[in-house]
């Protein structure tokens, strides 16, 4: 079975890869492009560990076929920092101890950034419901919510 050729943009870079028709975007990111920051927790879109942005939309990469990435603009956690400068969310997560094992962290950071881009001043409830699609088993979400609200404050210049 011959593989499909896909051209797409990931974190601002033009990339190409080959994939099987049935491979997900998550598989392609991790196995073809070796961008392993995006994680597989369930493969069925229930845990959010594979959250990425596709053309500005928050998506579970395990629910999208790799071939659908053709011509799209994809953002993963690897593109979140600017060189050595961390995004405020990344910084706040470390400061607030908002991660323990860290496996859910890339997905949550992508999701949280998507929230703050739409709503720079969310309430606690809005943060919780927005992040309801990202499972965390270690933290109980407490310090994650703290970190997101604090990052939002800083980004607003408040």
């Amino acid at each position: 079975m011959s593989r499909n050729h896909v051209s797409t943009t990931v974190n601002g870079d033009q990339v190409e890869f080959l994939c099987e028709t049935g491979q997900t975007l998550l598989d392609a990111l991790r196995d073809e492009l070796r961008l392993t920051g995006t994680k597989e927790g369930c493969g069925t879109g229930d845990c959010g560990a594979c959250s990425v942005m596709v053309d500005g939309r928050l998506v579970c990469a395990c629910l999208m076929l790799a071939v659908e990435a053709e011509g799209k603009n994809i953002q993963t956690v690897e593109g979140m920092a600017d060189g050595e400068t961390l995004h405020p969310l990344q910084r706040k997560f470390i400061e607030h101890a908002a991660l323990q094992c860290g496996i859910c962290t890339p997905g949550i950071l992508i999701a949280a950034r998507a929230l703050l881009e739409r709503n720079p001043d969310p309430t606690e409830e809005e943060v919780r419901y927005w992040l309801a699609g990202n499972l965390c088993r270690c933290t109980g979400y407490h310090k994650i919510v703290d970190a997101v609200l604090d990052a939002a404050r800083e980004m607003r210049g408040a």
């Binding site: 392993t36 920051g37 369930c42």
Partner: protein
């Protein structure tokens, strides 16, 4: 040599503060590598064929078609693994029956649960591997199965192991049984105690298995070399334990296996045992290529250990003024396909929070056709405590005594004789009760259909074998090589903090690294709330050894007597004005000269840490019950716990919050759902519902510090206690809210509605 370093109170500069963890940036940028993030050139993908039957004899396995498929490089079945005798063997200090380990890893005579591995393949791609699995022909003789613990205990129940006779029963039973072991703890005379009681409450509870729920599925990468050596990368709570288990089942020298622990995406006890590792090594050997095996979420649920489901009976009697006179419990725990549920620990935890003269606990370890259970954060304790703390609450209510006051009247304290043997040392149980009572949460007002519940938990905490080494680098910085897996991110930081405190230097001058199995002697796994306690103790010993060597070296370099040299504020200085004076030397100065004055300065420790201090916690929860839907919402949660000493308070808070959240999920939604055919129906996160961000409020934490006298900084360890109380606390809160006591976990909407409807029907 058993080791204990006594607590010394002193002014602290670094311990107790909140520096940034050293591995944080890697984890927020995606740079950190977890189990599935490792790849080797030429690697193959390994996949496991699993039994679709809950109980079946495996008559034959034909792998010929699979082997013939282009792209398939190796296939393994039971024939590739040695038979292991029925005996306990040591893995570090864990005694395990390897007859069961090898069978759980790959079925031999029988498939004992839906999901039991029967064969495995390695192929060039995942697609080919999956196609190969479909070509393996297994002939099963399906047998009747049993998954309910009470049913499994009855004579005549389908039998999992024909040669299993209940241990702990005299005389030895004539017929085999699914009850692998029966145990009994107690002291005093419960019959007399119940006679003295003026109020008695007796209840039966049932719980379902729940999964540890780590977000990262098991993943490993094995590379076997033709010279008989193997390298293994795996997500594990204990790489030395995994090495030992693999060596034993594969009959290899331990030194021939090198295990590198990857970052681990959650474990909670579920990654204490091997699953695919020995399969991957064997596939790699047969194929001559590295083999990567990553579980799917469905495999994690079907094939890795949950905690037991159980049937628990509790009976407590007390006087009118709330003094308990007798306490009794029967704990029937599902062990899954092979014996070894944590029923003994549950039995020892059930009543230990109370100072009781008359106690009797019976525990049964019962095999059923479900995956073999694995440890889950304070194994067994949450189940036993669900029963006991519910009954305590009911008693307090019957007598009109405040729930915290009732517990204070019976509280265990230093010197209390436990019913399983020793007396308790200094503990902080009463302090946690008093802190809970004084917390504003306890007296906050409640609205309609809202209720408040309290429950408490106890866990022993452990120490065990630990090694580490501390090396001074040429520029005066240090590397602390640890063998203790850092699951939650706090322990690496905490060890470095303790070393920096000992040496009197800045935290960022000590780099903690978790090494592979070739870097150090044996380290026990990260479990039992042991890492900050035991690895902390080892780190302190290594640091003190370094200080001794620094003093000796400086005495030589400065040509002064050793007694004149003190180590203070990060420097070697004269002890005081009375000794021979010399100009101080910093770590950097000594390090620069070390090579030319005898060699590098280093310290190390190889200990079996003793003297772990038990932890106690008190939780308060407010709930609101929606009587139309049965939904229970957590309004407010406060977790109070004695941790001995919080080395890094933010990570201690994280443990309390995370453990409470798991307990909340256990209470409200999590359960394994099986069909009549014994097949698991909800092996995924959609239908196995763990708490999400919108389910929980902020979880308030109160850290109590009653120092453990057996640790230099008073550490008790804190990871397990917080999961113990939530189920009972929530059951108590629901009772407080709507007057109904729920004894079946989880308290999911259908169950709550059923209870409400039944109560309403009874009233009519």
């Amino acid at each position: 040599m058993s080791t204990m370093l006594k607590y010394q109170e002193k002014k602290l500069k670094i311990v107790g503060t909140r520096p940034l963890r050293p591995d944080g940036v890697d984890k927020v940028t995606g740079r950190a590598r977890f189990g599935a993030d490792y790849n080797l050139p030429g690697q193959l993908i390994g996949k496991v064929l699993r039994s679709p039957h809950a109980h079946a004899r495996i008559k034959s396995i034909d792998t010929s078609a699979a082997l013939a498929l282009p792209g398939v490089k190796a296939v393994v079945t039971r024939d590739d693994f040695a038979e292991m005798p029925d005996e306990m063997a040591a893995v570090g200090e864990l005694m395990i029956n390897f007859r069961d380990v090898t069978r759980n890893m790959m079925a031999r005579e029988k498939a004992l649960y839906d999901g039991h591995p029967v064969a495995a393949v390695a192929a060039t791609t995942e697609a080919v591997a999956k196609a190969a699995l479909a070509l393996i022909k297994v002939e099963y003789e399906v047998l009747p199965h049993v998954i309910d613990v009470v049913e499994a205990m009855q004579p005549g129940a389908p039998l999992l192991h024909e040669d299993q006779y209940t241990q702990g029963v005299k005389p030895k039973p004539e017929r085999p049984s699914n009850v692998a072991k029966r145990l009994e703890f107690g002291h005093g005379d419960v019959a007399a105690g119940f006679k003295q009681a003026e109020v008695i409450v007796e209840r039966e509870f049932n719980t379902k298995p729940v999964h540890q729920g780590y977000i990262e599925p098991q993943a490993c990468l094995a590379s076997y070399s033709a010279d008989g050596q193997a390298e293994l990368w795996t997500s594990t709570q204990g790489h030395f334990v995994f090495r030992a288990q693999c060596a034993k089942v594969l009959q290899m020298d331990i030194s021939k296996i090198r295990v590198t622990p990857t970052e681990i995406g959650g474990g909670f006890g579920g990654k204490n045992n091997i699953y695919n590792e020995a399969l991957a090594i064997t596939l790699s050997r047969k194929a001559g290529h590295p083999v990567k095996m990553v579980m799917t979420r469905e495999e994690v649920f079907r094939g890795t250990g949950p905690t037991p489901g159980a049937n628990v009976k509790v009976k407590i009697g007390c006087t009118r003024d709330g003094k308990i006179t007798a306490a009794q419990a029967e704990l029937n725990f599902q062990a899954g396909a092979f014996p070894g549920s944590p029923v003994n620990q549950a039995s020892m935890c059930a009543f230990t929070r109370y100072d009781l003269a008359n106690v009797h606990v019976v525990g049964n370890d019962v095999t059923v056709n479900r995956p073999k259970v694995a440890a889950y954060r304070a194994p067994g304790a949450p189940i036993a405590v669900f029963g006991v703390e519910s009954v305590i609450d009911e008693m307090a209510k019957k007598l009109g005594i405040d729930p915290i006051e009732f517990r204070l009247r019976n509280a265990a304290k230093e010197g209390t004789q436990t019913y399983y043997g020793p007396k308790l040392g200094p503990i902080g149980y009463i302090q946690t009760l008093e802190a809970a009572r004084a917390h504003p949460h306890y007296s906050a007002p409640l609205g309609p259909n809202q209720g408040r519940g309290v429950a408490t938990g106890f866990w022993f905490n452990i120490g065990n074998e630990t090694t580490c080494s501390l090396n001074l680098q040429e520029d005066g910085t240090l590397t602390l090589m640890l063998g203790t897996i850092d699951v939650a991110g706090g322990s690496r930081a905490s060890m470095a903090m303790m070393v920096a405190e000992e040496l009197g230097i800045a935290f960022d001058r000590v780099r903690p690294v978790v090494g592979d199995t070739s870097s150090l002697g044996f380290n026990f796994l990260t479990a039992g709330s042991r890492s900050t306690f035991a690895s902390g103790m080892a780190s302190v010993i290594a640091a003190r050894q370094v200080i001794e060597k620094l003093r000796q070296r400086v005495a030589q370099i400065r040509e002064v007597p050793l007694e004149a040299v003190a180590w203070k504020d990060g420097q070697a200085q004269p002890v005081d004005s009375s000794v021979q004076q010399f100009s101080p030397m910093t770590l950097a100065e000594i390090a620069r000269m070390a090579g030319k004055t005898g060699g590098t300065v280093a310290g190390h420790a190889e200990i079996n840490a003793q003297g772990a201090g038990p932890g106690f916690g008190t939780h308060i929860v407010d709930v609101e019950v929606d009587k139309e839907t049965g939904a229970v919402r957590i309004l407010r949660y406060t977790a109070v716990q004695d941790v001995g000493k919080a080395i890094h308070p933010a990570y201690v808070e994280g443990q309390l919050q995370g453990g409470a959240a798991q307990g909340i999920g256990w209470a409200l939604n999590e359960e394994y759902v099986y069909g009549e055919d014994g097949v698991l129906q909800n092996p995924g996160f959609l239908d196995y519902r763990i708490p999400v961000a919108s389910d929980l409020p902020f979880i308030d934490t109160v850290i109590v510090e009653v120092p453990n006298p057996n640790h230099p900084y008073g550490v008790r360890g804190c990871g397990e206690v917080p999961i113990i109380a939530p189920m009972a606390a929530i059951a108590n809160a629901i009772e407080n809210a709507i007057g109904l006591r729920l004894c079946e976990q989880p308290f999911s909407p259908p169950r709550v509605l059923k209870a409400i409807d039944e109560a309403a029907a009874a009233k009519r």
